[in-house]
Amino acid sequence: MNQEEILTKITEIMRETFNSPTLELTPEMTAKDIKGWDSMKNIWLIVAIEEAFEIKLSTSDVISIECVADYIKLISEKSAL
């Protein structure tokens, strides 16, 4: 799966998680740019991403994520394993 495909899939997951059908993601976006991305929704998002990409994210992985690009990088690294 290439980076664009990952971004498309994350966009779908985020639209559903944040109940925002028109959400458009860019790699540099952070939690501040997306309405409703709070600590609780973040857990939903992590679980949804893990299920969709069949990966496991540790607490350290989650803490290191600052923007959408970090998610894409982490997913491509974990999927490659």
């Binding site: 109940n19 609780m40 857990i43 939903w44 992590i46």
Partner: protein
């Protein structure tokens, strides 16, 4: 030593003057020395505790780097020592009292707690700070430090030692390790932070403290008086705690260090989640990273909605308990847990275009501000039986004298809170409408500083300890 004392007004300029005459290595040794002097000024034996925490975490961190196969045990050692110190000095008495109560309830022979344990000031802050070091090494987010002195300064740095901000090693240690500098704009912003901090403490918080203590000591109270007291405490605790942070940040900046932001205008929050992103940020982010996330992502709790709720419950239980060994603090944490849960539900059933409508934001801010008031009533009542009494007072039963007193005290609290509101509105407008990044309102800062300085001389309230010293 306390910030709002003549001793500190002599101590800080003297430290700054000597500090900038030294090279980096000597600066570190000098700062450790003055930090230990600052902390042990009144109770020198407290220094044993901070030294224990420093030595244990330094060697645990070092050993984790050298013996990665034992890092789990070493982390447990670090956490046990820190929580052991915190548990004994802060919670032992509370625990024994509750066990004694339980014995009475069960009809077992009871006992009394004869141990009078003195709470070492700032212990909740520096134990959390130093634990973050070993946890980050365990998680692979930080490399263990070989230089003991650099680490000792991270634990004991006097500006934020007693009441935060709770710094992370990953932010602070690189500042210790590099050569520091001081620019004119650093001095300018540091002095403004110091004057603003002293103004908030001495003029706003200390004057309002009088109103709060007067109201909450009344045996014969009324609905209006209690809610005016809650309003006043909301202003006092914000002015008091953010004042400490500002004085800490200003003092640190004069020494070439940048401490993290602890408050970001919490009273313009439109929801409980936004409030926790703006209030006591260093503690909230600590609790989020080291308690909530590991719990919510643990194998047992990560998949179910119930798991998220349990994680949130435990997080806010600990948040409450961190504030003090008392049921009122635990109930305060659980009240905030309930607010977050109700908000999450309300958000899920409200259409997005209504929820996020910009015209609703002022109403949401006002509602959030009102919802904080019961939490203050809970927080303030050490005797839990008074919480229910205060929260259930009838709004229709107020004697004329009680109403007059409440209105007078409300007016006084409102008067002293004006600078806080003005600062919040000014900052909000500046952030929202000013797009240039080099705007430095020097003239505004100079005029404001002069007004504040005169106000401190004229309007200063009776000196009261910083509220967060007790935590």
């Amino acid at each position: 030593m306390i910030f709002h004392s003549l001793d500190y007004l002599i101590f800080l300029p003297l430290v700054v003057a000597i500090y900038w005459m030294l090279n980096r290595e000597k600066q570190v040794i000098f700062l450790i020395g003055v930090s230990y002097f600052f902390y042990g000024y009144i109770h020198p034996w407290f220094l044993y505790l901070i030294l224990t925490s420093t030595v244990v975490d330094y060697y645990c961190g070092l050993a984790m780097g050298r013996l990665p196969e034992h890092k789990h045990k070493l982390l447990l050692l670090s956490i046990s020592v820190n929580l052991g110190l915190l548990g004994f000095f802060k919670y032992f008495g509370f625990f024994v009292d509750n066990v004694a109560e339980l014995f009475i309830l069960l009809g077992l022979p009871s006992f009394t707690n004869n141990l009078d344990i003195y709470l070492p000031v700032g212990i909740s802050f520096y134990t959390f700070q130093t634990m973050s070091y070993t946890i980050d090494i365990y998680r692979g987010q930080l490399k263990p430090r070989k230089n003991f002195l650099d680490f000792a300064l991270f634990v004991s740095f006097f500006p934020q030692l007693v009441a935060g901000p709770i710094e992370r090693a990953v932010n602070f240690l690189p500042q210790v390790e590099k050569k520091r500098s001081l620019s004119v704009s650093d001095v300018q912003s540091a002095l403004f932070l110091l004057v603003w901090g002293f103004f908030k403490k001495l003029v706003i918080a200390d004057n309002i403290a009088f109103i709060v203590s007067k109201i909450f000591l009344l045996e014969n109270t009324s609905f209006l008086l209690v809610w005016v007291g809650a309003f006043a405490f909301g202003i006092q605790v914000f002015a008091d705690f953010s004042a400490y942070t500002d004085i800490a940040r200003g003092s640190a900046r004069l020494l070439g260090f940048k401490l993290s932001q602890n408050f970001n205008h919490p009273y313009i929050s439109a929801s409980p989640t936004e409030f926790w992103k703006r209030w006591h940020i260093s503690l909230t982010s600590w609790i989020h990273d080291y308690i909530f996330l590991p719990l919510a992502l643990s194998r047992r709790l990560r998949t179910a909605t119930g798991g998220l709720i349990i994680s949130l419950f435990i997080t806010f239980f600990i948040n409450g308990l961190w504030h003090g060994a008392g049921w009122n603090f635990i109930l305060w944490g659980l009240y905030h847990f309930a607010l977050l849960l109700i908000y999450a539900w309300a958000k899920s059933v409200t259409p997005e275009h209504i929820r996020d409508h910009q015209w609703l934001r002022p109403f949401q801010i006002f509602l959030m501000f009102l919802l904080l008031h019961p939490s203050y009533i809970i927080f303030l009542n050490g005797d839990v039986s008074y919480i229910w009494r205060d929260l259930t007072l009838s709004p229709f039963v107020n004697s004329e004298i009680q109403t007059q007193a409440a209105l007078f005290l409300f007016g006084k609290a409102l008067f002293f809170s004006i600078p806080l509101w003005a600062h919040t509105i000014f900052s909000y407008v500046r952030e929202r409408f000013w797009t240039g990044d080099s705007w430095k309102p020097l003239a505004v800062q100079v005029v404001a500083s002069m007004i504040m300085f005169i106000s401190i001389l004229v309007l200063r309230g009776d000196s009261v300890d910083f509220i967060y010293f007790q935590f």
